[in-house]
Amino acid sequence: MTGNKSRVWSFFSSVSLTIALLAIIVLFSIIGTIVPQRDATAQLALQIPPGLFSFLQTMQIFDLYHSIWFFLLLGLLSLNLIICSINRLPQAWRHFRAKSFPENLDVFQDLSEDAIINTKQDQKVISEIAGIAMKSRFRNYQRQKTTDGLYFYGDKGRVSYFGVYVVHLSIVILIAGVVIGSIFGIEGYVNIGEGQTVNKINLRDKDQTLLLPFAVRCDRFTIKFYENGDPKTYLSDLTFLKNNQVAAQGQLLVNHPLSFEGFRFYQSSYGLTAESKASLSLFENGKKSQEILVGWGETFVLPGKEGKVNVLRIEGNLMNMGPAVKLAVVSAQGETVFWVFRHIDKIKEMNPGIVQQIPMFNPGLFRPYVFVIGGVQEKYYTGLQVNSDPGLPVVAAAAFLMFVGLMLVFFSSHRQVWLRVDVQWENTRISIAGRSNKNAVGLQRDIKDILARIKKRLETLR
């Protein structure tokens, strides 16, 4: 390895780089939650000089999490993780493969009193008891006879040396999955009116549409409300059509997406289409003078020719206060805009003085007329989110691997136990010693349990 290469290598294998990269990613993420991102930038554009805005836009500050900078950081982090792991993996492998038996018998030096049992029993009986006790904690224990005694060895959890590397690998895979998703993934949305069929979706963050290789029809849209007016459920009955043939049908709910040919459909919103109609009644000095059916954008003239009424909006449930229509009366005095609520009497009762506080809620704002809604013929559209993410299985695999890795890191440990049976001053002596890479408590439990089993057997023999 040349000096230059090894310098690059050691730079990428340093933990300081990991810590620095993680710190920069943290900083980046914080900035991303403070500076408006993507759709939210419109307001900022009006507040700062256009030059600065376009500069920041070129620097991808308004889409930080999908910017070249972010991917660069993720790439560096992956490289750092891979090189760190390559550097340290041989050591873990050595630990994993290490032969601890019959080597490492010096563990019996400096044993505490608790780890030794002396008994008058025959060595042969004791070896049998010791073997059974070892087997209870270490299924594949080994035994070996030497000139100075009989040795047993058991260990478990060798795989724990790899836990950290499994987690690191999972993060590299996760990053790969995220990158695949953001390069090849599709994020779109589409609104479909009841009975309508579409084969195009609008792409998010791009002013483009995408032609789907199939068509989607919304057969029915259903919405249910709680007593307090909050939506309880809304669902769409969808039909997927391939070459004008029905290929699949299904019901789409929030939290219950549907998949078709690699695209996933999500119920994300709903609203009234422009085809919705409202029946309006006009009262003049308390007397009903006219009743008409109006649609979005329609215009009609007031009975006394005082002005013209534009129907601006029709809502099925405005701010949880029920059906409402927004009107603009254009007259000689100018334009008067106000909302007409179906349940205005109830609203007034629950919020006394509301019409005085918010004149726009006054259905009689344009005198001498008072408008009343008889009803709204609701025609809903369903708002669907349409995604396709080829990185998804990769991300899911990474998450699973990370979970396994973390379990290995935090809940597994390599535990080794050596047990010796030898003769000293006409006594049979049992000595037990152990070692663990990170779980001294667990090791103590193993040792205590083995000792307890041996002692119990010894008592029954007496």
Partner: protein, 284 residues
Amino acid sequence: MISTKILSLVTFIYFAAFVFYLFRMTMGRDFWGGLATYTAWAGLIAQTIALVWRWKASYDLGIGHAPLSNFYESLVFFSWTIVFLYLITEGRLKNRSLGVFVLPVSFLLMAFASFSPDISSHIDPLVPALQSNWLTSHVLTCFMGYAAFTVAFGLGIMYFLKIAAAGRKGKMISGFFHLLPDDDVIDELIYQSATQGFIFLTLGIMTGSVWAHHAWGSYWSWDPKETWSLITWLIYALMLHARHVRGWRCRRMALISIIGFACVLFTYLGVNYLSGLHSYLKIS
């Protein structure tokens, strides 16, 4: 509602427990320590009963769901997990010093939930996005994580108070100081609590991602809460690495446990002031 009344009573019980822990610290009498522990247990049991009651009440209203669905319920549950984890730690540690630092957090959360005029304690029906089996597992794992980080924070504060006290001489301060556990014990407990929090936060983020994948159509949307949970996760990941690879101990661990807790609080409360998808927790 009775459960809400019990919960506002729990606020005072936790305050009393805190005061008793404080008495034990300043007077050094173990009578107060025992009383503090019993009081904290009494509070926890009362709070558990109230939560179960509230759960049942939601079924009686015909909108049955676990009491984990709005800001009020999340504050109550957060304080519950903190006391729960604290009492377990106290039992393992066999030292009551930590109570002075952890109980006030629980008390403040309960006081905020019970007495802030902006927070509604109504049992509301679930909006469609929250109608998912993932709700319970996501909220449970996240708050277990938050609570473990809170315990680590309490330990961090305790550590700094201890070194501040060690620098001074004085009868009262030294009495105070003798009751605190050794540096090594504090360090080990900070590490254990942070690890516990890290595992739960990881699970919380994972369950959240799976849920987001089902509900919002994307496992990760860079919503401020998601981003801040990632920031918190990275901070604690840094902490664990610095300890294992760089051998960081006591003072630095205590410092990160405090910084990390600030991130936890921001993830929980701060992001409510930023716009995003996790708007269920908004203060009306």
